[in-house]
Protein backbone atom coordinates (compact mmCIF):
# COMPACT_ATOMS: atom_id res chain seq x y z
CA UNK A 1 0.00 0.00 0.00
CA UNK A 2 1.45 3.41 -0.96
CA UNK A 3 2.41 5.45 2.04
CA UNK A 4 2.91 9.19 2.00
CA UNK A 5 4.09 10.71 5.21
CA UNK A 6 4.71 14.35 4.30
CA UNK A 7 1.89 16.63 5.39
CA UNK A 8 0.28 18.69 2.63
CA UNK A 9 -1.26 22.10 3.28
CA UNK A 10 -4.48 23.51 1.85
CA UNK A 11 -6.99 26.19 2.67
CA UNK A 12 -9.83 23.67 2.75
CA UNK A 13 -10.01 19.88 2.91
CA UNK A 14 -13.22 18.54 1.35
CA UNK A 15 -14.33 15.08 2.42
CA UNK A 16 -16.39 13.55 -0.39
CA UNK A 17 -16.07 13.88 -4.18
CA UNK A 18 -19.78 13.77 -4.96
CA UNK A 19 -21.48 16.67 -6.76
CA UNK A 20 -21.53 18.90 -3.67
CA UNK A 21 -17.88 18.21 -2.84
CA UNK A 22 -16.85 18.95 -6.42
CA UNK A 23 -18.90 22.14 -6.64
CA UNK A 24 -17.37 23.25 -3.33
CA UNK A 25 -14.02 23.32 -5.14
CA UNK A 26 -15.58 25.82 -7.56
CA UNK A 27 -17.05 28.14 -4.95
CA UNK A 28 -13.86 28.05 -2.86
CA UNK A 29 -11.75 28.51 -5.98
CA UNK A 30 -13.59 31.68 -6.97
CA UNK A 31 -12.60 33.09 -3.59
CA UNK A 32 -9.00 32.13 -4.24
CA UNK A 33 -8.97 29.22 -1.81
CA UNK A 34 -7.03 26.05 -2.58
CA UNK A 35 -8.79 22.76 -1.86
CA UNK A 36 -8.07 19.07 -1.66
CA UNK A 37 -10.88 16.53 -2.18
CA UNK A 38 -10.73 13.13 -0.49
CA UNK A 39 -12.98 10.19 -1.29
CA UNK A 40 -13.14 6.52 -0.36
CA UNK A 41 -14.15 5.55 -3.91
CA UNK A 42 -11.47 5.34 -6.57
CA UNK A 43 -13.41 7.67 -8.86
CA UNK A 44 -15.06 11.07 -8.41
CA UNK A 45 -18.84 11.55 -8.50
CA UNK A 46 -20.02 9.80 -5.33
CA UNK A 47 -23.45 8.19 -5.65
CA UNK A 48 -23.90 9.78 -9.10
CA UNK A 49 -20.95 7.81 -10.44
CA UNK A 50 -21.18 4.70 -8.27
CA UNK A 51 -24.91 4.02 -7.99
CA UNK A 52 -26.55 5.58 -11.04
CA UNK A 53 -24.04 6.75 -13.66
CA UNK A 54 -26.47 5.95 -16.49
CA UNK A 55 -29.69 7.11 -14.87
CA UNK A 56 -31.21 10.43 -15.95
CA UNK A 57 -31.52 13.25 -13.40
CA UNK A 58 -34.17 15.85 -14.22
CA UNK A 59 -33.86 18.42 -11.42
CA UNK A 60 -30.48 20.02 -12.03
CA UNK A 61 -31.12 23.70 -12.87
CA UNK A 62 -30.60 24.41 -16.58
CA UNK A 63 -30.08 20.72 -17.41
CA UNK A 64 -33.48 19.36 -18.47
CA UNK A 65 -31.91 15.92 -18.31
CA UNK A 66 -28.41 14.78 -17.41
CA UNK A 67 -27.02 11.42 -16.30
CA UNK A 68 -25.10 10.92 -13.06
CA UNK A 69 -21.86 10.42 -14.99
CA UNK A 70 -22.42 13.42 -17.28
CA UNK A 71 -23.09 15.62 -14.27
CA UNK A 72 -19.85 14.41 -12.68
CA UNK A 73 -17.90 15.03 -15.90
CA UNK A 74 -19.35 18.53 -16.28
CA UNK A 75 -18.47 19.41 -12.68
CA UNK A 76 -14.91 18.15 -13.19
CA UNK A 77 -14.68 20.36 -16.29
CA UNK A 78 -16.05 23.33 -14.36
CA UNK A 79 -13.56 22.97 -11.48
CA UNK A 80 -10.54 22.17 -13.66
CA UNK A 81 -9.19 25.77 -13.59
CA UNK A 82 -8.76 25.59 -9.83
CA UNK A 83 -6.37 22.64 -9.89
CA UNK A 84 -7.70 21.01 -6.74
CA UNK A 85 -5.95 17.84 -5.62
CA UNK A 86 -8.22 14.82 -5.92
CA UNK A 87 -7.11 12.12 -3.50
CA UNK A 88 -9.21 9.08 -4.23
CA UNK A 89 -9.46 5.55 -2.87
CA UNK A 90 -8.82 6.58 0.72
CA UNK A 91 -10.98 7.14 3.75
CA UNK A 92 -10.44 9.99 6.18
CA UNK A 93 -10.04 8.26 9.51
CA UNK A 94 -9.53 11.13 11.89
CA UNK A 95 -9.45 14.85 12.14
CA UNK A 96 -8.18 16.95 14.96
CA UNK A 97 -7.83 20.61 15.65
CA UNK A 98 -4.25 21.62 16.27
CA UNK A 99 -3.12 24.20 18.81
CA UNK A 100 -2.75 26.81 16.04
CA UNK A 101 -6.44 26.34 15.12
CA UNK A 102 -5.81 24.51 11.84
CA UNK A 103 -7.04 20.98 11.20
CA UNK A 104 -5.06 17.82 10.62
CA UNK A 105 -6.70 14.94 8.76
CA UNK A 106 -5.34 11.43 8.48
CA UNK A 107 -6.42 8.82 5.93
CA UNK A 108 -6.30 5.04 5.91
CA UNK A 109 -3.45 5.35 3.42
CA UNK A 110 -1.44 7.45 5.84
CA UNK A 111 -1.87 10.80 4.12
CA UNK A 112 -1.63 13.72 6.48
CA UNK A 113 -3.57 16.76 5.35
CA UNK A 114 -3.30 20.18 6.94
CA UNK A 115 -6.15 22.64 6.30
CA UNK A 116 -7.56 25.86 7.71
CA UNK A 117 -11.13 24.58 7.30
CA UNK A 118 -12.89 21.28 6.60
CA UNK A 119 -15.93 20.69 4.38
CA UNK A 120 -17.74 17.43 5.06
CA UNK A 121 -19.58 16.62 1.84
CA UNK A 122 -19.88 12.91 2.50
CA UNK A 123 -23.44 12.29 1.29
CA UNK A 124 -24.90 9.27 3.05
CA UNK A 125 -21.44 8.32 4.30
CA UNK A 126 -18.69 6.02 3.10
CA UNK A 127 -19.12 3.32 0.50
CA UNK A 128 -17.85 0.11 2.07
CA UNK A 129 -17.91 -3.49 0.82
CA UNK A 130 -20.94 -5.55 1.84
CA UNK A 131 -19.75 -8.47 3.91
CA UNK A 132 -21.11 -12.00 4.14
CA UNK A 133 -22.42 -12.91 7.59
CA UNK A 134 -19.95 -15.63 8.50
CA UNK A 135 -18.68 -16.54 11.92
CA UNK A 136 -15.12 -15.39 12.58
CA UNK A 137 -15.01 -13.42 9.32
CA UNK A 138 -13.12 -10.48 10.82
CA UNK A 139 -10.21 -12.68 11.94
CA UNK A 140 -9.56 -13.57 8.28
CA UNK A 141 -10.05 -10.10 6.78
CA UNK A 142 -6.95 -8.60 5.23
CA UNK A 143 -5.10 -11.92 5.59
CA UNK A 144 -7.12 -14.50 3.66
CA UNK A 145 -10.41 -12.75 2.97
CA UNK A 146 -10.46 -9.68 0.71
CA UNK A 147 -13.05 -7.40 -0.89
CA UNK A 148 -10.72 -6.07 -3.57
CA UNK A 149 -7.49 -7.14 -5.21
CA UNK A 150 -4.71 -4.75 -4.27
CA UNK A 151 -1.78 -7.14 -4.67
CA UNK A 152 -2.47 -9.55 -7.53
CA UNK A 153 0.81 -11.45 -7.13
CA UNK A 154 -0.18 -12.55 -3.62
CA UNK A 155 -2.91 -14.72 -5.17
CA UNK A 156 -0.42 -16.79 -7.22
CA UNK A 157 -0.55 -20.54 -6.54
CA UNK A 158 -3.50 -20.19 -4.15
CA UNK A 159 -6.77 -22.06 -3.92
CA UNK A 160 -9.13 -19.15 -4.45
CA UNK A 161 -12.86 -18.87 -3.96
CA UNK A 162 -14.55 -15.85 -5.56
CA UNK A 163 -18.07 -15.02 -4.36
CA UNK A 164 -20.58 -12.93 -6.30
CA UNK A 165 -22.13 -12.63 -9.74
CA UNK A 166 -21.25 -9.14 -10.95
CA UNK A 167 -18.45 -7.66 -13.04
CA UNK A 168 -15.86 -7.65 -10.24
CA UNK A 169 -16.47 -11.33 -9.43
CA UNK A 170 -16.36 -12.48 -13.06
CA UNK A 171 -13.42 -10.27 -14.05
CA UNK A 172 -11.25 -11.39 -11.14
CA UNK A 173 -12.22 -15.05 -11.51
CA UNK A 174 -11.15 -14.83 -15.16
CA UNK A 175 -7.97 -12.90 -14.43
CA UNK A 176 -6.78 -14.90 -11.41
CA UNK A 177 -7.43 -18.21 -13.18
CA UNK A 178 -4.09 -17.55 -14.90
CA UNK A 179 -2.09 -17.63 -11.66
CA UNK A 180 -4.26 -19.55 -9.18
CA UNK A 181 -3.77 -23.15 -8.13
CA UNK A 182 -7.54 -23.55 -8.32
CA UNK A 183 -10.31 -21.02 -8.76
CA UNK A 184 -13.96 -21.47 -7.86
CA UNK A 185 -16.72 -18.94 -8.44
CA UNK A 186 -19.65 -19.20 -6.04
CA UNK A 187 -22.91 -17.46 -6.84
CA UNK A 188 -26.45 -18.30 -5.87
CA UNK A 189 -27.61 -18.60 -9.46
CA UNK A 190 -26.00 -18.89 -12.85
CA UNK A 191 -27.52 -15.53 -13.76
CA UNK A 192 -24.60 -13.10 -13.85
CA UNK A 193 -24.78 -9.33 -13.90
CA UNK A 194 -21.58 -8.78 -15.82
CA UNK A 195 -20.39 -7.82 -19.28
CA UNK A 196 -21.41 -10.60 -21.72
CA UNK A 197 -17.79 -11.01 -22.86
CA UNK A 198 -16.67 -11.70 -19.26
CA UNK A 199 -19.45 -14.23 -18.72
CA UNK A 200 -18.56 -15.95 -21.99
CA UNK A 201 -14.88 -16.06 -21.06
CA UNK A 202 -15.68 -17.53 -17.65
CA UNK A 203 -17.93 -20.23 -19.13
CA UNK A 204 -15.12 -21.12 -21.54
CA UNK A 205 -12.66 -21.45 -18.63
CA UNK A 206 -15.10 -23.76 -16.86
CA UNK A 207 -15.48 -25.85 -20.01
CA UNK A 208 -11.68 -26.14 -20.25
CA UNK A 209 -11.46 -27.19 -16.60
CA UNK A 210 -9.48 -24.05 -15.66
CA UNK A 211 -12.18 -22.72 -13.35
CA UNK A 212 -15.12 -24.12 -11.46
CA UNK A 213 -18.58 -22.73 -10.86
CA UNK A 214 -20.68 -23.69 -7.83
CA UNK A 215 -24.26 -22.56 -7.55
CA UNK A 216 -24.71 -21.78 -3.88
CA UNK A 217 -23.89 -19.49 -0.97
CA UNK A 218 -21.00 -19.24 1.46
CA UNK A 219 -21.81 -21.19 4.65
CA UNK A 220 -18.71 -21.09 6.86
CA UNK A 221 -14.97 -20.54 7.00
CA UNK A 222 -12.37 -22.81 8.61
CA UNK A 223 -8.83 -21.88 9.55
CA UNK A 224 -6.65 -20.56 12.34
CA UNK A 225 -4.77 -17.35 13.03
CA UNK A 226 -6.30 -15.62 10.00
CA UNK A 227 -5.11 -18.41 7.69
CA UNK A 228 -8.03 -19.80 5.77
CA UNK A 229 -8.00 -23.55 5.10
CA UNK A 230 -11.47 -24.46 3.88
CA UNK A 231 -14.78 -22.91 2.89
CA UNK A 232 -18.12 -24.67 3.26
CA UNK A 233 -20.72 -23.87 0.61
CA UNK A 234 -24.46 -24.24 0.89
CA UNK A 235 -25.69 -25.78 -2.37
CA UNK A 236 -28.96 -27.36 -3.44
CA UNK A 237 -27.30 -30.78 -3.01
CA UNK A 238 -26.22 -29.93 0.55
CA UNK A 239 -23.02 -28.65 2.11
CA UNK A 240 -19.88 -28.86 0.01
CA UNK A 241 -16.50 -28.13 1.56
CA UNK A 242 -13.62 -26.82 -0.54
CA UNK A 243 -9.96 -26.47 0.35
CA UNK A 244 -9.29 -22.75 0.03
CA UNK A 245 -6.69 -20.29 1.26
CA UNK A 246 -8.16 -17.11 -0.26
CA UNK A 247 -11.70 -15.75 -0.40
CA UNK A 248 -12.59 -12.76 -2.55
CA UNK A 249 -16.11 -11.56 -1.77
CA UNK A 250 -17.81 -9.17 -4.22
CA UNK A 251 -21.26 -8.36 -2.84
CA UNK A 252 -21.35 -4.74 -3.95
CA UNK A 253 -21.11 -1.67 -1.76
CA UNK A 254 -23.04 -0.49 1.23
CA UNK A 255 -23.12 3.06 2.56
CA UNK A 256 -22.48 3.82 6.20
CA UNK A 257 -21.66 6.99 8.08
CA UNK A 258 -18.27 5.58 9.08
CA UNK A 259 -15.61 7.43 11.11
CA UNK A 260 -17.47 10.78 10.89
CA UNK A 261 -19.76 9.55 13.68
CA UNK A 262 -16.75 9.59 16.04
CA UNK A 263 -15.66 13.16 15.41
CA UNK A 264 -17.66 14.75 18.19
CA UNK A 265 -19.96 16.75 15.89
CA UNK A 266 -23.60 17.31 16.85
CA UNK A 267 -25.73 14.88 14.88
CA UNK A 268 -29.43 14.73 14.08
CA UNK A 269 -30.91 11.22 14.32
CA UNK A 270 -27.35 9.91 14.65
CA UNK A 271 -26.95 10.11 10.89
CA UNK A 272 -26.79 13.71 9.70
CA UNK A 273 -24.59 16.56 10.86
CA UNK A 274 -26.38 19.56 12.33
CA UNK A 275 -25.51 22.88 10.72
CA UNK A 276 -26.77 26.46 10.79
CA UNK A 277 -28.37 27.83 7.63
CA UNK A 278 -26.22 30.94 7.34
CA UNK A 279 -22.77 29.36 7.13
CA UNK A 280 -23.58 25.64 7.10
CA UNK A 281 -21.12 25.32 9.93
CA UNK A 282 -21.19 22.34 12.30
CA UNK A 283 -20.91 22.47 16.08
CA UNK A 284 -17.13 22.74 15.57
CA UNK A 285 -16.14 26.17 14.18
CA UNK A 286 -14.20 25.84 10.92
CA UNK A 287 -15.87 22.53 10.10
CA UNK A 288 -18.72 22.77 7.60
CA UNK A 289 -21.16 20.13 6.37
CA UNK A 290 -22.75 20.47 2.93
CA UNK A 291 -25.02 18.30 0.80
CA UNK A 292 -26.91 15.18 1.88
CA UNK A 293 -24.80 14.69 5.02
CA UNK A 294 -26.12 17.81 6.79
CA UNK A 295 -29.35 18.58 8.55
CA UNK A 296 -31.21 21.79 9.33
CA UNK A 297 -34.92 22.56 9.60
CA UNK A 298 -36.40 22.20 6.12
CA UNK A 299 -33.47 20.21 4.75
CA UNK A 300 -34.08 18.56 1.38
CA UNK A 301 -31.57 16.03 0.10
CA UNK A 302 -31.25 17.51 -3.38
CA UNK A 303 -28.11 18.13 -5.40
CA UNK A 304 -29.19 21.74 -6.01
CA UNK A 305 -29.46 22.33 -2.24
CA UNK A 306 -25.90 21.05 -1.87
CA UNK A 307 -24.69 23.60 -4.44
CA UNK A 308 -26.34 26.46 -2.57
CA UNK A 309 -24.93 25.26 0.75
CA UNK A 310 -21.43 25.04 -0.76
CA UNK A 311 -21.60 28.67 -1.91
CA UNK A 312 -22.58 29.96 1.52
CA UNK A 313 -20.15 27.77 3.46
CA UNK A 314 -17.34 28.97 1.18
CA UNK A 315 -17.89 32.57 2.26
CA UNK A 316 -17.29 31.67 5.89
CA UNK A 317 -14.41 29.35 4.97
CA UNK A 318 -12.72 32.42 3.42
CA UNK A 319 -13.06 34.33 6.69
CA UNK A 320 -11.55 31.36 8.55
CA UNK A 321 -8.69 30.80 6.09
CA UNK A 322 -7.92 34.49 5.42
CA UNK A 323 -8.81 36.32 8.63
CA UNK A 324 -6.82 39.41 7.63
CA UNK A 325 -8.37 39.84 4.19
CA UNK A 326 -11.65 41.49 3.28
CA UNK A 327 -14.16 39.31 1.49
CA UNK A 328 -15.29 41.00 -1.70
CA UNK A 329 -18.50 39.80 -3.31
CA UNK A 330 -18.11 39.64 -7.09
CA UNK A 331 -19.78 38.17 -10.17
CA UNK A 332 -18.09 35.97 -12.77
CA UNK A 333 -19.77 38.03 -15.52
CA UNK A 334 -17.94 41.22 -14.60
CA UNK A 335 -14.98 40.55 -12.32
CA UNK A 336 -11.65 40.32 -14.09
CA UNK A 337 -10.19 38.80 -10.92
CA UNK A 338 -12.69 35.93 -11.02
CA UNK A 339 -12.22 35.53 -14.75
CA UNK A 340 -8.49 35.26 -14.21
CA UNK A 341 -9.03 32.54 -11.62
CA UNK A 342 -11.33 30.79 -14.08
CA UNK A 343 -8.62 31.12 -16.70
CA UNK A 344 -11.03 32.67 -19.22
CA UNK A 345 -10.60 35.55 -21.62
CA UNK A 346 -12.45 38.50 -20.09
CA UNK A 347 -13.37 40.05 -23.41
CA UNK A 348 -14.83 36.87 -24.83
CA UNK A 349 -18.60 36.81 -25.06
CA UNK A 350 -20.66 33.66 -24.87
CA UNK A 351 -21.89 32.99 -28.39
Amino acid sequence: MPVSTASQSYDVAIIGAGPTGLFSVFELGLLGLKAVVLDVLDKPGGQCAELYPEKPIYDIPSWPVISGQELTDKLLEQIAPFGADLKLGRQVKSFERRADGRFQLTTDRNDTIDAAAVFIAAGAGSFTPRKPKLEGLDSFEGKSVFYAVRDRASFAGKDIVVAGGGDSALDWANDLSEIAQTITLVHRSDRFRAAPASVEKFRALVAEGKARFVEGDLASLTGTGGKLQAIALKTKAGIETLAADRLLAFYGLNIELGPIAEWGLDLADGKQIKVDTEKFQTSTPGVFAVGDINWYPGKLKLILSGFHEAALASQEAFRVARPDEKLRFQYTTSSSELQQRLNVNATKKVA
Partner: protein
Amino acid sequence: MAVLNVIDRDGKAHQLETVEGWRVMELLRDQNMGVEGICGGACDCASCHVIVAEDWAARLPEPREDELFKLDELPEIAPTSRLSCQIIWSDGLDGLSLTIAESA
Protein backbone atom coordinates in the same frame (compact mmCIF):
# COMPACT_ATOMS: atom_id res chain seq x y z
CA MET B 1 -57.79 2.79 5.21
CA ALA B 2 -55.58 0.09 3.78
CA VAL B 3 -52.71 -0.85 6.09
CA LEU B 4 -49.20 -2.22 5.77
CA ASN B 5 -47.97 -4.66 8.44
CA VAL B 6 -44.30 -4.38 9.20
CA ILE B 7 -41.85 -6.17 11.47
CA ASP B 8 -38.86 -3.91 12.07
CA ARG B 9 -35.22 -4.93 12.52
CA ASP B 10 -35.75 -5.30 16.27
CA GLY B 11 -38.61 -7.74 15.69
CA LYS B 12 -41.29 -5.23 16.70
CA ALA B 13 -44.61 -5.24 14.80
CA HIS B 14 -46.12 -2.04 13.37
CA GLN B 15 -49.23 -1.23 11.39
CA LEU B 16 -48.46 1.60 8.99
CA GLU B 17 -50.63 4.13 7.21
CA THR B 18 -50.50 3.92 3.45
CA VAL B 19 -50.88 6.24 0.49
CA GLU B 20 -52.06 4.98 -2.89
CA GLY B 21 -49.28 5.25 -5.47
CA TRP B 22 -46.38 5.61 -3.02
CA ARG B 23 -43.45 3.25 -3.07
CA VAL B 24 -43.45 0.91 -0.06
CA MET B 25 -39.89 2.14 0.61
CA GLU B 26 -41.30 5.68 1.02
CA LEU B 27 -44.00 4.46 3.43
CA LEU B 28 -41.31 2.72 5.51
CA ARG B 29 -38.87 5.63 5.33
CA ASP B 30 -41.37 8.34 6.25
CA GLN B 31 -42.78 6.34 9.18
CA ASN B 32 -39.31 5.86 10.67
CA MET B 33 -38.94 2.14 10.15
CA GLY B 34 -35.16 2.56 9.73
CA VAL B 35 -35.28 2.23 5.96
CA GLU B 36 -33.14 4.87 4.30
CA GLY B 37 -33.71 4.48 0.57
CA ILE B 38 -30.32 6.06 -0.07
CA CYS B 39 -30.58 5.99 -3.89
CA GLY B 40 -34.07 7.48 -3.72
CA GLY B 41 -35.90 4.53 -5.22
CA ALA B 42 -33.71 3.96 -8.27
CA CYS B 43 -33.20 0.24 -7.49
CA ASP B 44 -29.50 0.94 -7.03
CA CYS B 45 -28.59 0.69 -3.33
CA ALA B 46 -30.65 -2.19 -1.84
CA SER B 47 -30.98 -0.30 1.44
CA CYS B 48 -34.77 -0.94 1.33
CA HIS B 49 -34.49 -4.76 1.27
CA VAL B 50 -37.54 -6.47 2.79
CA ILE B 51 -38.77 -10.04 3.13
CA VAL B 52 -42.41 -10.36 2.13
CA ALA B 53 -44.66 -12.82 4.00
CA GLU B 54 -44.89 -16.05 2.03
CA ASP B 55 -48.63 -15.87 1.46
CA TRP B 56 -48.19 -12.39 -0.02
CA ALA B 57 -45.19 -12.98 -2.25
CA ALA B 58 -47.12 -14.38 -5.21
CA ARG B 59 -49.76 -11.65 -4.99
CA LEU B 60 -47.27 -8.87 -5.73
CA PRO B 61 -46.31 -7.87 -9.26
CA GLU B 62 -43.23 -9.83 -10.40
CA PRO B 63 -39.85 -8.16 -9.83
CA ARG B 64 -38.19 -6.68 -12.91
CA GLU B 65 -34.77 -7.83 -14.03
CA ASP B 66 -32.87 -4.91 -12.45
CA GLU B 67 -34.45 -5.70 -9.07
CA LEU B 68 -33.47 -9.37 -9.36
CA PHE B 69 -29.91 -8.41 -10.27
CA LYS B 70 -29.64 -6.02 -7.34
CA LEU B 71 -30.98 -8.67 -4.95
CA ASP B 72 -28.51 -11.16 -6.39
CA GLU B 73 -25.70 -8.85 -5.36
CA LEU B 74 -26.55 -9.13 -1.64
CA PRO B 75 -24.67 -11.63 0.50
CA GLU B 76 -27.92 -12.98 1.99
CA ILE B 77 -31.45 -13.07 0.63
CA ALA B 78 -34.62 -15.05 1.34
CA PRO B 79 -36.87 -16.70 -1.27
CA THR B 80 -39.39 -13.83 -0.86
CA SER B 81 -36.87 -10.99 -0.70
CA ARG B 82 -37.86 -7.78 -2.49
CA LEU B 83 -36.63 -4.21 -2.77
CA SER B 84 -39.47 -2.18 -1.31
CA CYS B 85 -38.76 0.78 -3.62
CA GLN B 86 -40.00 -1.42 -6.46
CA ILE B 87 -43.37 -2.15 -4.86
CA ILE B 88 -45.92 0.57 -5.56
CA TRP B 89 -48.67 0.74 -2.96
CA SER B 90 -52.24 0.25 -4.04
CA ASP B 91 -55.18 -0.36 -1.73
CA GLY B 92 -55.42 -3.87 -3.20
CA LEU B 93 -52.34 -4.60 -1.07
CA ASP B 94 -54.30 -3.93 2.15
CA GLY B 95 -52.80 -6.11 4.89
CA LEU B 96 -49.49 -6.77 3.11
CA SER B 97 -47.02 -8.17 5.66
CA LEU B 98 -43.28 -7.82 5.42
CA THR B 99 -40.15 -7.92 7.54
CA ILE B 100 -37.38 -5.38 7.09
CA ALA B 101 -34.18 -7.25 6.28
CA GLU B 102 -31.04 -6.70 8.30
CA SER B 103 -28.74 -4.20 6.63
CA ALA B 104 -26.00 -6.00 4.72
